[in-house]
Amino acid sequence: MLDYFAIFTKGGALLWTLQFTTALKHNPLDALNALIRTCLLEERSGDAAFTYAPKVGAQQALKWTFHNGLGLVFVAVYQKTLSLLYVEDLLAAIKDAFLQEYTPGSYSYPQFQDKFAQILRDCETRADKARTLAAQPTRAAPAAAAPAAKAGKAAGQAGSKAGSGAATPQQWSSEESGSDADADAAGSSGSAAGGSSSAAGSDEEAAANGDAAGGFNLAKLKGKGVRAAGPAGRRNTAAARRAVEEAKEKAAKEKAAQSSPAKPKSGRVWGGFGRKEEAVGRLDFTEGQAPGAAANGNGTAEDLGSSLIDAPEEEYEPVDDEPVGQAAANGNAAAPAKRGLLGSFVGKLALSVVGSSALSAADLAPALEDMKRRLMERNVAEEIAAQVVDSVAHSLEGQKLSSFTGVGQFVRRAFEDSLSGILNKRQVDVLHDIKRARARGKPYVVVFCGVNGVGKSTNLAKIAYWLGQHGCKVQLAACDTFRAGAVEQLKTHAMRLGVPLYERGYEKDPAKVAAEAIRVAQRDGRDVVLVDTAGRMQDNEPLMRALSNLISLNQPELVLFVGEALVGNDAVDQLVKFNRSLADLAPGAAAGGPAKRQVIDGIVLTKFDTIDDKVGAALSMVYASGAPVMFVGCGQTYVDLKKLNVRSVVNSLLK
C-alpha cells in the first residue's frame, strides 16, 4: 500500500496529492523535500529509488518519474519494507492519464482522484497476476529460474567470503531490477527485489527459495549430493559451508605456524648483505657537521612568498567550439538508413530549425554517447560517467529545443549546467571555523587520510604553510607510525615551517598519539592541529578499522580525504569504502551511533599539475562522496596550493 502520491511542477507548486494513510507521524512533504534536495538536485535522478528516514517512524522509499516537456514530477512514497512491484508501472500510467487532464496554470483536479484509484487498482491486479503466474512451478520456469538459481549460488558463495566488498550485492540487485519476473519466481516477497539488499543472508535465502520454486527434480539433486532444497537441505548447505570455512581457517593457521616458528625478533640491519658495521657507519652523516646546516639547504620557508591559493583567480575564457555538435551529427548520419535520407533530413530540420517536436531518447542517444565517451577520455570513472549521463538524459527527454539549436549544443549546455552544479558544492570556510574554535578555546583538528602515496604529508605541509601565513598557530601530529621516514619527513617540514611537531616515533598507536597531540596543542594554545596518518588501501579492513578508531576517538572537526588527480576508476571505490568504513566500523556505530557521525568532509586533490586536461578525477570524487574539493595541490613546493576552479574544470571536461 502506498503512503503518499504527489504530482508537482519543477518550480515547486503541488498540483495534486493523495495521502493514503494518516498514521504517518511526520509531514509527508518532508520526504519530498529530502528527495529533491539530496537526490534530484544532486544529479542522481537516474537512481532506481530513494530512501527517506524520518526522525520518527519507519523508513520510506520513494520512486519518481518526470515529464520534462511540461516540467512535471510524479512521486510515489511507500514503506520501504513493503517493496511494492507495481510502482513503476503505476507512475507511467498515472503520467499518461494526468497529461490528458493537465492545463498549465490550473491547480485543482478534483476528478482525477477516481481515475487514480482505478489505475491503482489495475496496476495492483496486474502485479498480483504476474506474481501468481510466475510462482506456479511450470516446465517453462526452470529456464527462467535456472539463471536466477545459478546467480543465487554464485552470490551465496561469494557472500560467505569475508570482506567481499560491494561488487557481488550490486550485481545481484542489478540482476533483480532487470528481471522482476525472475525475482518473483524466486518467491522472495520483495525484500530482496524492491529495496537494496546487500546482506549475504538474504542472498542465501533467495537462492534457496529459487531452488524450491523452480521445477527441479529434487530426488535427482539429492542423489548427486548437490545442495538440495527444503529446510533440511538448507540446514545441510549452511552446515556444509561452515565446515568448509573452518577447514580453511585451520589450514591457514597451520601454514602461518609453519612459516614463523617462535623466534625472537632480531634488529634490522640497514645497508645489509653482510657488511654491517661499515654500512651503518657510511649511512650516518650526522657527525662532523654543524647542526643547523645539516637539516636543510636553503633555510626556512619564510621567504617563499604567499601561497598560490591567495593569488587572484585568473579570468577563464572558455573556448567556444562545437565538436559535440559535429560528432552528434555524424552519429545522426549513421542512423538514417532506417528512416530514409529524406525523412531523417526533415526530422533534423524539424528538431534544430523549427524546434517543434520533443526530443526522444533516440534523438539524444548519439549525443549522450559522445558525451559519455568524452567524459571517460577525461579520466572520469566509468560508472560515474554513466550515472551523470543517465541523470541528464532523464532531465532532457521530452524537452523541446528552442529554434536553431542543434541537439549537440543543447546537450552540451545541459551538461555544463549539471556538471557545474555537481562541482559547486558548499565550501567549508576553514579560516572562519578556526576562528570560531579559537573563541571556544579548543584547537581545530584536521585529519588527513588516503591511500598510499597520494601526497598526504606534502599537502599537509602546504596547508600548514598557508595557515601560518594567515596567523593561525599550527601544530603537526605525526600519526603515521608505520612508514619508514614518515616522522623524520614531518620533522623536516616542521623545522622549515617553524611549527611544533608532536611525535612519538614508530610502532605506537596512532589514535593515542593523536589524542595526546591535541591535548598538548590545547595546553600550548595552538589553533590548529594537522594530523598525518599512514596511507592504507581501502580494502584493508584492520587498517580501516584503526583509522575509524582514530577519528571517532578524537572527533576531528575536519576529515580530509587526500586523492591524487591521476587516479582513474579506483577513485570511486576509494571514496565509497573510506566513507563506509568511517561510518560502519567506528566503535559504537552498532550501539546507535556516536554523537557526531563522521564521514569525509572534504577532498584534497593532489598532483593536479601532472594532468593537463584529464581532470575527471575531480568529478568522480565529488560525485561519489558528496564532499567538496577544498584544496588542490599543484606542485611540490609549499606555495603550490590552490582552490578548485570549477569553470575551468567543466570546460576541460567538455572540450
Binding site: 508537482f8 503541488l14 534536495r37 587572484p312 557545474s420 570556510d429 579560516l431
Partner: protein, 262 residues
C-alpha cells in the same frame, strides 16, 4: 572614382559652405590638403560618420542599463517560491515543495507590472544566481525568521556572495531583507535580532574570505570600512529589513519595495 554628380555636390559644399571651410581650417595641414579635394572630403565625412556610429554603439553597451526584473533569492526553505506564487497568483494553491528550477512570471504590484525571477536556494544554482544579478532592478533576499540560528552561516554566505558581486556593487541595486514566516509569531525572531546576527556573521566572513578565496581585493573594500564592524547601514547600496509572511499573504512591505524599484 566617385560619380560626377556626387563630385559636383561635394565641390559645391567645399566652395559655398563657410562652415565646412572653417572646420577644414582647424584640421592639421596635411589633412587640409586632402580635405580640399572632393574625394578627400568624402573620405573624411565617411570616417567621421563611422566613428560616430562606433561611439554610439559603445556608449549604448557600456551604459549600465537598469535591470528589468526583481530577483527573489535566499537560502533553502526560506519561502521564496511561496512568496513568488503569492505575488503572481495571489495564493499558494495546494502548497509547495522544494523548487528544482527557477520560476519566472509577471506580478502586478500596486498597479504596475513587475517581472519576478525566483531562483532555488540549492547550492547548484549559485552560478545562475550570480549571472542573474546584473539584470536585476531590485533583489528581495528572503530569510527564514524562525530557523535563522541554525542556518545563519548559509544565509550569510549567500548574502556575502550577493553583496560582493561586482554588478550589484556597481549599479547599487536596492536590496530588501525579507524576514519571512512572521505568521509563527512566537517562534519568529525579530528583525533586530536577524540584523545583528547577519551583521556579525558577515563581519567575521569578510575577514576570512578576503584572505582565503582569491577574489579581487576590491571585494573586501566594498563591504564597508575594514576597521569598523560591518553594518548594513554602512553599505553604499540601499538595504532594508522588513517582516513578512508569504503563507499568510502579508507582503505589503515587499510590494512597496518592488514598486519602488521599478
Amino acid at each position: 572614382m566617385i560619380p560626377d554628380a556626387l563630385r559636383q555636390q561635394l565641390q559645391l559644399l567645399l566652395e559655398h559652405q563657410p562652415i565646412v571651410k572653417q572646420i577644414i581650417q582647424y584640421l592639421p595641414s596635411d589633412l587640409q590638403r586632402v580635405a580640399g579635394t572632393p574625394e578627400g572630403l568624402l573620405a573624411l565625412l565617411l570616417t567621421a560618420a563611422v566613428g560616430l556610429l562606433v561611439l554610439l554603439a559603445l556608449a549604448g553597451t557600456s551604459k549600465s542599463k537598469k535591470g528589468s526584473s526583481i530577483l527573489l533569492a535566499g537560502p533553502m526553505n526560506a519561502g521564496k517560491s511561496t512568496m513568488y506564487y503569492q505575488l503572481v497568483d495571489g495564493s499558494q494553491h495546494n502548497g509547495l515543495v522544494a523548487s528544482m528550477e527557477q520560476n519566472t512570471g509577471v506580478a502586478s504590484v500596486n498597479g504596475r507590472q513587475a517581472r519576478l525571477l525566483d531562483i532555488p536556494g540549492h547550492h547548484s544554482f549559485r552560478h545562475k544566481l550570480e549571472s542573474s544579478v546584473k539584470d536585476a532592478a531590485g533583489i528581495v533576499f528572503v530569510i527564514d525568521a524562525v530557523e535563522i540560528t541554525p542556518h545563519k552561516v548559509e544565509a550569510a554566505e549567500m548574502l556575502y556572495e550577493l553583496l560582493t558581486n561586482s554588478s550589484f556593487a556597481k549599479s547599487r541595486t536596492p536590496l530588501l531583507l525579507a524576514c519571512n514566516k512572521a505568521d509563527l509569531e512566537e517562534e519568529a525572531h525579530s528583525t533586530e535580532f536577524i540584523r545583528k546576527t547577519l551583521e556579525r556573521q558577515l563581519d567575521a566572513m569578510r575577514k576570512t574570505k578576503t584572505a582565503g578565496i582569491g577574489k579581487e581585493a576590491s571585494a573586501g573594500v566594498a563591504l564597508g570600512a575594514a576597521d569598523k564592524p560591518f553594518s548594513f547601514a554602512g553599505l553604499r547600496s540601499k538595504v532594508a529589513l522588513v517582516e513578512c509572511s508569504a503563507k499568510a499573504g502579508q507582503l505589503d512591505d515587499v510590494r512597496a519595495f518592488i514598486a519602488g524599484c521599478l
